[in-house]
């Protein structure tokens, strides 16, 4: 339940904020919430699998943050703003 709440909060944040950094942060929140759900499940059945999944989720989150932030830097350089709505060249 907690995971669900956290997840939806993260989703809301993602949808609301226009600053790219915030978008990424909300994404992190969502990932965390998902990981939490995994761990809870693992603990319920006393298996290690939940934690392992969380480990993977963590690794993935790390990689994603690295690339994402590099992208943010590039975007800032290119567009001089971090407004997500402005980055809509794939319109149409």
């Amino acid at each position: 339940m907690l995971a669900g709440i956290l997840f939806s909060l993260g989703l809301t944040g993602l949808l609301v904020r226009r600053n790219l950094i915030f978008v990424l942060m909300s994404l992190e929140v969502m990932l965390n919430a998902a990981g939490l759900a995994f761990v809870v499940a693992g603990a319920r059945w006393h298996q290690a699998d939940g934690q392992i999944m969380f480990l993977f989720v963590l690794a993935m989150a790390a990689a994603e943050v690295a690339v994402g932030l590099a992208l943010v830097l590039e975007i800032y350089r290119r567009f001089k703003s971090l407004d997500v709505d402005q980055l809509s060249e794939m319109r149409g």
Partner: protein, 622 residues
């Protein structure tokens, strides 16, 4: 020899095919050789067949050659079969021979045209269809040829297709003959359902046996066939397409619309004469139509100034004579007039073509003049043909044939004095307009100077046809006798004070009166002609007759405008709405969906979230 019958339509058809497929790669000389040569060969074979037929007539005076079975469905059997008797033989000779001469003429006439091989392909296809029409032994085959000549007429009238006016004229011709064709096809259905066959000879026998004289079926069928004939032969009330058909090249006008195609209606009625004799009211209608048409067209011809239109109205008028003859029961006279008319009318058209060509495409007779010295051969041949048309006594063929019709209009079984009077007035008109034309074009001061003179390929056909226009008259007795085997002879019912000699004298006088008046008004005192036209009565009459007695205008108001109006409103009817509705729906979805492609990440994320919400809802509430 007679077994070569099938070659007669096959040769032009084969050459048409060749010209269609590889014509554009042939040189003009070869194309002309193929085109004219096939008709020439057909003419030669026709002559050979004719000799064989004449010297050793086959039993029953008819020869049938069955080629193969065409349709065999549930009791409806038709074959591709050729039927030759004296009637079709006479027409065959005329069509192939005159056709050959016109092809030779057009080899030079059309020499500068780009569509040279296309022209010959169409002309050959036309001749092939016409021959099929003449030789068919059943009405379906005849109808096939009928449609074929209609198609070729359309193609050839609109030959110079780049000018839209020509296309309009071609469409007008096609649509009007279509009206007639529809009537004819209904007639065919009627005949088949009632009598069970479409073979012409069988049909005539069964009709004679089963239907009493004057029965409704016979009358209905006869009237429907008459409808088809009226359309094709440009009689009242479907005559308005022929003057406009002059938009085509002159050889086309000569072949189709003078000598051959327009006489297809005459042939049809002559072929099914048994049917018509079973329906006296229909036959009377034929005569009435003929009489009215010949008068109407005669008056109109008097007012035209385009030389080809004068000749077109003259053709309508002369075919009216043929119809008149058929209507009063003078079958052979009608065919005789057809033969002579083919000669001199083709000659007139070819001569007109020479003049038009020589004067650099000038059509108006009021701008021509004094060509007597410039184009001597043309002048003499044209004069001979004109005299034949008007009926110069004793010398020309036209005199004999027309006179025979006029006499029969009085004396034959269904003749009435009214018909005779109509014939006489028609003769007067013919003489008038013919000599008006001749005096305006060839006499008087020089109008437009001559720029081009015809070569031998154009003058030789003229000369040959001139000889035939004169000599054809002497064919009268042999021809009538020859036709006796196919057509019943005319019963001379009543004379009532008039003999043939007297009738002939009167027509001869009429000719001279017409000649004199034409001389007066168009050569001697031309200002009298102008005065006549500019006076109040003269002017309105002139305009009315010039516009073909207002038929064009009537048809436009009654048929064309309402039809156009109806199709305008019908453009967006509810059935169309179905299709345009589909289009509109697709566009609506497109607009809607393209709004979802904003390129904004948050929007897409929201979309995904909404989607997963829905998915979970489905899972929950299942």
């Amino acid at each position: 020899m007679i077994r070569l019958l099938w070659l007669i339509p096959a040769l032009p058809f084969a050459s048409a095919l060749i010209l269609v497929l590889i014509g554009s790669r042939l040189s003009k000389r070869v194309a002309a050789a193929v085109g004219a040569g096939s008709i020439g060969l057909s003419a030669v074979i026709t002559i050979l067949v004719a000799i064989g037929f004449y010297t050793a007539p086959p039993p029953g005076n008819s020869y049938t050659q069955l080629l193969w079975s065409w349709i065999n469905v549930n009791g409806f059997r038709t074959q591709i079969g050729l039927y030759l008797d004296s009637l079709s033989l006479v027409m065959l000779l005329a069509v192939t021979f005159v056709g050959f001469l016109i092809h030779v003429y057009s080899a030079e006439f059309m020499i500068e045209d780009d569509g040279y091989s296309r022209f010959f392909a169409y002309m050959n296809l036309f001749v092939a269809s016409m021959l099929m029409l003449l030789l068919g032994n059943n009405l379906l085959l005849l109808y096939l040829g009928w449609e074929g000549v209609g198609l070729c007429s359309y193609l050839l009238i609109g030959f110079w297709y780049r000018d839209p006016a020509n296309g309009r004229a071609a469409r007008k011709a096609f649509i009007l003959t279509r009206v007639g064709d529809t009537a004819m096809s209904i007639g065919l259905y009627l005949l088949f359902t009632q009598l069970g066959t479409l073979g012409i000879q069988d049909l005539m026998q069964r009709a004679f046996a089963q239907w009493p004289s004057g029965s409704t079926y016979a009358v209905a069928a006869a009237f429907l066939l008459l409808g088809g004939a009226i359309g094709k032969s440009a009689q009242l009330p479907l005559q308005i397409w022929l003057p406009d058909a002059m938009a085509g090249p002159t050889p086309v006008s000569a072949l189709l619309h003078a000598a051959t195609m327009v006489t297809a209606g005459v042939y049809l009625i002559a072929r099914t004469h048994v049917l018509f004799s079973l329906a006296p009211s229909a036959q009377l209608a034929v005569a009435v139509v003929g009489a009215c048409t010949l008068l109407l067209a005669g008056f109109s011809a008097l007012t035209q100034h385009d030389i080809k239109r004068i000749l077109a109205y003259s053709t309508i008028s002369q075919i009216g004579y043929m119809f008149l003859a058929l209507g009063v029961g003078a079958w052979q006279a009608a065919m005789f007039h057809f033969v002579t008319h083919a000669f001199f009318k083709a000659l007139l058209f070819l001569g007109a073509g020479v003049i038009i060509n020589a004067l650099d495409d000038e059509h108006s007779i009021f701008r021509m003049g004094g060509l007597r010295k410039e184009l001597p051969v043309t002048f003499w041949t044209f004069l001979i043909a004109g005299c034949s048309l008007a009926g110069l006594p004793f010398v020309t063929a036209g005199f004999f044939s027309k006179d025979l019709i006029i006499w029969n209009a009085w004396s034959a079984q269904y003749g009435y004095p009214a018909f005779w009077i109509a014939g006489i007035i028609g003769a007067l008109l013919t003489s008038l307009y013919t000599f008006r034309m001749i005096f305006r074009v060839f006499f008087g001061p020089l109008g437009i100077p001559v720029t081009k003179r015809p070569g031998y390929r154009m003058t030789i056909p003229l000369v040959v046809l001139a000889f035939l226009s004169i000599g054809g008259g002497f064919l009268k007795q042999p021809l009538l006798g020859f036709l006796h085997s196919a057509l019943p002879s005319t019963i001379e019912a009543h004379t009532g004070g008039l003999t043939e000699i007297r009738s002939e004298t009167i027509t001869g006088l009429i000719f001279l009166i017409g000649l004199y008046f034409a001389y007066l008004f168009h050569l001697q005192k031309r200002n009298w002609a102008d005065a006549l036209v500019s006076g109040p009565v003269g002017r309105s009459l002139h305009q009315w007759w010039f516009a073909d007695w207002g038929f064009d205008w009537i048809y436009d108001k009654v048929f064309v405008q309402p039809f156009v109006w109806a199709s305008e409103i019908n453009k967006s009817d509810f059935i169309d709405a179905f299709y345009s509705g589909v289009v509109w729906l697709a566009q609506w979805f497109y607009r809607g969906l393209s709004r979802t492609e904003t390129g904004r990440v948050r929007w897409y994320a929201a979309g995904m979230a909404a989607g997963s919400v829905l998915f979970l809802a489905v899972v929950l509430f299942k």
